[in-house]
Amino acid sequence: MEIPYGRELLKGSTDSLLLYLISEGPTYGYRIIKELEKRSNGYFCFREGTLYPALHRLEKAGLIEGTWERLPNGQERRYYHITEQGSKILAEKLVEWRGFSTAINLVIQPM
């Protein structure tokens, strides 16, 4: 069975996308999904269940850290913060991605 190309691309970029969004400030799972959807004009429609395993994997790797925070209305949410190691990895991934993206654009641009 052929896996859609876009899905494969997303699978390879999930960690970078999550790290980037979390690097902008502490955030939680549901907001991450909405933000990805909004910023990509609906292109990145995460299957919601897949987000949490990805977040927990990043946390286990020490790239992000989750803490429970109580909101003024009493509700508790698990906010994720990027760690120092996570920032370092993200910086490397961004350089890698920009280089890759530039190379692709150079190849496919009209002559």
Partner: protein, 332 residues
Amino acid sequence: MAWVLHGNQPRDTADVAGTNYQTKLIAYISALKSGLRLEDNVERDVLREICTHVDDRAKELEENGLSPDEAKAEATHLLGPPRILARQLYEAHSQGSWGQTLMAASPHIIFALLFALSWWRSMTGLLMVLGIVILFSAYGWWRGKPRWLFPWLGYLLVPVIIAGVLLVYLPRQWSWLAVFIYLPLAVWLVSRIGRQSLRTDWIYCSVMMFPAPVLASWALAVGWRDIPLDSLDSPLGRLAPWIAASFLALGAAVAVFVRVRQRWLKVGALLMSELAVLILVAISSKGISLLGLSFLALAAVTCLLGPAFLEHMPFAHRTSTSEKGVPSTGYR
């Protein structure tokens, strides 16, 4: 809303549908919980987080016109099948650190050293190893039963079994000692440890049982009545390097078990290494027939996979979600 229609339940009848949504939601969380098999505090956090997510999503869906029940059902449905979510979450957490790997492999390595360095020849060496096993087992039990504890518990049962065997050789007038003190204590200890490991996850009961078939096969190969502790010419003395190698192999298998993420790989590592070690025992000792080896292999498979069936017994049931204090956020 394919998920809601699953099971041919009528959607339009309000009272039936309300109950149906609630039942399905509880079933979803139960299915998720039963597949997670994580440490209690991690599992509690994961379930809380998922519940919070469902609440957030349901709120948005309600704002878009769905009824509260429908919104919750749809929000849960969007998470995907609980078994898949549970497996992915399990794999995100199932890899132990290198420290945990070392702790889990240590009892096997210590037993390998016991034979490689001939500590088994002196009572001091044996008591030292026994002391270490008791110390680490007690420490792990007291510290909330981390996953590295279970290989230690497996070795903790060894002196219990040996003491039982030795009691057979006591003078007849001492048999009351076995009946009134040893047997109740041994049964209590074995059942307590067994139940605890099954409640954590049957796979840890398998880890606990892991050295048992190897120990039994070495005991058979050496012969129970022929174990002089001070002679290198005894069968035990001749086989000691092989015994050490077999325990090292068990240690390596447990290290793989802790480091791999997938459950089937964990079970596979235990099974394959156990069977390989049993073949090593048969080849090196030349004292076990093919029939004996087949019997041991069957015993090994039973020890490693049997706990998966025992897990469904009432005594092995885990604490329910509500008992663990997971916030319901609309699930109750």
